[in-house]
Structure formats: structure tokens, C-alpha cells
Symmetry: C2
Subunit: 198 residues, 2 copies
Amino acid sequence: MSEVARRQRLSPDQRREQILLAAERLFAERPYVEVSTTELAAAAGVARGLLNHYFGDKRALYLEVVRRAALLPEIGDVALPAGSLAERVDAAVHWFLGSITPERATYLTVGAAEGIGDDAEVRAILDGAHDLAAGRVLELVGGDPADAAARAAVRAFGELARGAIREWSRAGTLTREQAHLLLRESLLTIVQRVLPGL
Amino acid sequence: MSEVARRQRLSPDQRREQILLAAERLFAERPYVEVSTTELAAAAGVARGLLNHYFGDKRALYLEVVRRAALLPEIGDVALPAGSLAERVDAAVHWFLGSITPERATYLTVGAAEGIGDDAEVRAILDGAHDLAAGRVLELVGGDPADAAARAAVRAFGELARGAIREWSRAGTLTREQAHLLLRESLLTIVQRVLPGL
DNA sequence: GACCCTTATTGGCAGCCTGCCAATAGGCTA
DNA sequence: TAGCCTATTGGCAGGCTGCCAATAAGGGTC
């Protein structure tokens, strides 16, 4: 029978990636406490001590996973403004919904911990990612990304968006079209009737 | 020096409450893993074993704390419909914002874990509480609480509300008036332009 | 192609945390 | 005041985490 090499020496980057992939899977299935480092190491096919070597401790590994997951949306290249406000709003919503494939839905709706069981560091990571997305949306609809209040309002809109996405892709209580309608009308109202009044 | 009674025999209800209060405080300060049962027991002035006696295990105690926190909003007696739609919407928003005193903000914006680090049980508790609130809002604005899609849309609105509340009471990036404006206009739009189209 | 040397990788030790259970004693009742 | 029910305690056993010194994979060098 084929004897699997007991030790395999990989480049730090490869090994890191391998561990992160396994951790991503396990942490997505069960809550933090329920996943032991022993299990994480086994899933990655590695000695437990290697986790500490690469990430410091369990918590740091977890934060790394959250960091990667939070940034998934690929807030990159979306065609900037063009057309009427209605069209631009529609484009922004489309981008938001489009960046969510069902498989990634789990990660994208990440809102992690708030309130009881809150975790300042996790919160900070997510806030950063959400703020980035809010800034992008504000640009798309022709707002001023530098306006703190406007940005805050759009960040709040982001919560609505993640809520709608969850209703659609996880609970199945809204169709994608319904979610789109909800977000389009809401965002339009926010841009037209709320932002000017802040 | 006054010798504090080494053992004090309380009624189960009192002891339970005493432990829950201490746990509430600690869990609000630091994430679950960071709080040890030893610490919880010390904070409650009780032997560690008593926690298990009353709640089973640490997780169960935590869930109990979350359960109580999630239900805080006192979704009880709010004057039902009256006046124009605009007025009813305003009343609903007022109720949502009013049920949030700064001290309780921490608990009320509880959205707990989603995605990475998700916890099915915590999720279920919060979903239940949020759905209850959504049903109440739907009643207030004259919608049909039995309409699943409408309820889902309003649940999503609840996320917007919690987001706005956080921007206001925690981040301080929105004033209460601004948060109110954002929620009022959004909810009005949802009722007028979204619900009919679901 | 064989040897070396850097460093990726391992395995086990020490401390802490958690759940469990039998022993203890507080305080109400008769 | 004596007795009993049961609230409360303390310590044991197993598991998990972080740390560190020992080990060997495999690319570079001659």
C-alpha cells in the first residue's frame, strides 16, 4: 500500500494556505469553541504545533479566516456612474446581490458577533469591510464618500442588504427578484429623501 | 473583621438570577471563550460547580443570557394603528428607537453570529426575537403579519434598524434624529412600494 | 551526484479549563 | 431543639491550548 510521506516540506505560503482552507471549512460549520486545534490540525493534515508556528494561536488563525471571508466581495472594478439615478441605484444593488453566490453567501452575510459575545477585533474587521462596501455604493449612486453621515447611512443600508440576502439565499423566504426590489426601492429612497436631509 | 457567611442558602430563583446577572455583565464585556467558568463563578460569588447545577454547562448559561438579552425590547403594549400611514410608520420607528436606551443598546443590537463562527442555536434565538419584532412592526403599519414575504421584508428592515441604531448609539456617526429620518423614510417606502409588489 | 545546512515540521510537557459527583451543611419544619 | 431536605461545595479526570527543543526534508553547493 502506498505509504504517504510522513513529513512533507512545503513553502510557508503553501502550508499557510492549506491550513487556512481547512480552517475556513471547519469554522464555517461549527462555532469557534466547538472546533479544537487538534481537529484543525488533523483536517489540514498537519501537526498541531504547526498552527501555532504559522498563526500564533487559535484565535489569530480564526481572525485570519474572518479577515479573508469579509473581504470576499471583490469590491473592485465595477463600472462607475452612468445613466439616471435609478439606473445607478439598480447597478449598485445588482453588484451587491451579484457578488453573492450561494456558496459564498455564508461568508458574505458575516456579521459576526454583536452585543452579547461581541468581539471587538472581529467587529473591527467586519466594520472595515462593510465601510469599504458602503463607500463603493456611495460612489456608484453619485454620493460623496467623504460625507461621514451619508457613509453611516449607507453602512446601515448594508445591513438591510445583508438581511435581505440572508432571507433570500439562506432562509429562502424571499426570491432574488423580491430582494432586489426591496433593496432598489430602499436605496433609492435613501439617496433621494434621506441623504439630502442629513 | 466581619466574617462573610461561607455558605449562604438562597432560593433557586434568587441564586439563578444572581448568576445570570454576573454572567450578563461578563459576557457583555468579553467574548465567550475569554470568560472562564471560574471567573463567572467568582463574579457571582459562588462555587464553580453551582453553575453546572443550575444551567448544565457553560454554553447553556450563555444561551440563557442571550435569550434574555434578545427579548429585552418589550414587544408588548404599543398602541395599535391610528392615524395616517405616515403617522403609523413614524410610531413604529419611534417604538424601535425608543426601546433602546444607551445602556441596553449593547444587548439590543445583538445580531450575534452569522457566517464564520455562526452558531445555529444563538441564531435561532435571535431570529425568533427579530421575527417577533417584525410581526409587531407589520401590525403597526397595517400590514398582514401572516404574509411570509412581507414578514421577511420587514425582518430585513429590522437589520437596517439595528444598523442605524448602532451608528447612532455606539459609533455616534448618526444623531438620533438622523437615524429616525433614515428609518422612517425607508419603512415608508417598503410599505408603499415594496410590500405591494411581493 | 553526494553532502550540508537552513528551516519547516513534529511530538511531548505543563497549565488551565470544563463537567461530574459524592460529601457537607444551611435553615425551615415539626 | 432535633431532624431532614436539598442548596452548595471541593476535588477528581479528561481534554484542550501554547510552548519549545529535537528532528529531518530537500534545495544549494562543490
